[in-house]
């Protein structure tokens, strides 16, 4: 069980986070914070022509929160916003619903990576660590809609 959550993929992403940094001309910017344990994530991304053209994060926190952010940015890069929201929903359901099952092929390939977090369900106090980046992303996408339009126009 333990080796499944602290497996090679998570340890690798934690030590060598992908897409680490800050996009200064981002259309979306959010600071995600888990007050319970102090994990912090600063997420910036650019939505252009309905696609996530670039996405980066910076953060401090446990292996799970940092690896999850790194894997998420990898997965979201280049996706349309609809696809991104679908992935958010899948990820969220994966960690919160008992009866969860993979649904379609698009999601299936996503699973090869994000599926490592499935076992977090067995560590209820740590679910929030895995979902922090995703919730931040979802919130930024929702909240920044008007600003995004401004930037495009």
């Amino acid at each position: 069980m333990l080796s499944e959550i602290y497996g090679d993929l998570i340890l690798d992403h934690c030590r060598n986070p992908r897409n680490y940094g800050d996009i200064h001309n981002a259309t979306h910017r959010i600071c995600g914070h888990n007050p319970l344990c102090g994990d912090k994530i600063e997420l910036t991304f650019i939505v252009k022509d309905n696609h996530i053209e670039n996405i980066k994060f910076k953060g401090k926190g446990c292996a799970i929160s940092q690896a999850s952010a790194s894997i998420m940015t990898n997965e979201l890069l280049g996706k349309t916003t609809e696809e991104a929201i679908l992935l958010f929903n899948v990820f969220h359901e994966m960690l919160t619903r008992e009866d969860f099952s993979e649904k379609n092929i698009f999601v299936d390939s996503f699973f090869k990576k994000a599926g490592v977090f499935l076992n977090i369900k067995n560590f209820p106090t740590r679910v929030k660590c895995a979902t922090l980046a995703w919730h931040s992303f979802n919130l930024a996408l929702k909240e920044n809609k008007p600003q995004q339009n401004d930037n495009i126009n």
Binding site: M1, L2, S3, Y6, L11, L36, C37, G38, D39, K40, K60, G61, C62, A63, I64, F123, T125, R126, C129
Partner: protein, 401 residues
Amino acid sequence: MNKLKMKNLNFPMLGKKTNNNRLVYLDNASTTFKHAYVIEAERKYETEYSANIHRGIYFISEKATREYEEVRSKVKHFINAKKETEIIFTSGSTGSLNLIAYSYGRTFLKKNDEIWISSLEHHSNIIPWQIICSEIGCKLRIIPINKDHTVKKIPFGKQAKLLAITCISNAIGVANPIRNWIKQAKERNIKVVLDAAQAVPHFKMDVQELDCDFLVFSGHKIYGPTGVGILYGKEKLLETMVPYQTGGDMVKEVTFQKTIYADLPAKFEAGTPNISGVIGFGAAIDFVNKIKFQPIAQNTIFQKAKEKLIQIGAKIVGEEFGKIQVPILSFTLQNIHPHDIATILDQKGIAVRAGHLCAQPLLNLLNVPALTRVSLGEYNTDNDIDSLIDGIKFVKKVLKC
């Protein structure tokens, strides 16, 4: 540990299993296991004389009232208060501190008055004062902390009215120089609140000798039930303060126009209290009275834990602020996040605390986002420390560092 003490170490939680391992409980600064004697006292109340207090004109209510009030008298002796009326039962240290902030604040504090706290405070001795400050317009001042923790003189302003300080940091086990600070406060007629939540489990506290105006602590950190705590206050102050909560039990006479409050201590104990908790708390005090407090230097289990943790690469945090006075060890380990340490240790049955330890401002000063904390109780053994060290080796193995 001598024989007599071993005999008294009757804690039903000891020897329990968690995650298929022997439970090794090392989070005693958070809360302690309950002594069998405590559980038995609570059970007796619940099953043999379960009734409300101060009200019923029948045997079991009178018995419950007697037992409840007897605990007040025990607490009076325990901290050497002058009178029983100076002992108020609350829901815990947090409840007591909120009571002081609200009631003392509303009675005595005015705009621009200074409230002083230390850098080592638990959130529960910060937030109530922030609220009073924003409501009344007082100023919250923090005693500056030096690397060697030598604050010679607190820079009290003209309007300094209150010094509210913890005796010992729950995060790093270091003490504030309370005697020196109380002396400085008294010279200027500044009232003193002592948060003794972490001190009472390890030191004899004497409120008359310390000459503090208020002192608070919790039952669940001294092997008693959760949800019970103490507010000690000097009688003169408590008498003049407005009540905190109002309702039943705290009144002499009520008409729809006005109310005459009851005398101390009832004035501050509105509503039906945690009767079984208070009775269990009395049993916990009996147990703590039997503990022979030893200076930390003689606590061989603590010394062993400290030595072994350092050997294995842990960096003990906080000693730059003073000597650790109680068996609390907070550390960082390489770049491993405390939550990962705690999750992996938990798989081996070892319970430690990880995170900001309810002392975020102090962690900011220490420049660490989170810590792993090991804190010992009376029942921890050499064996527990061996398990901890093996556990940490396992953490390193899992995380491949």
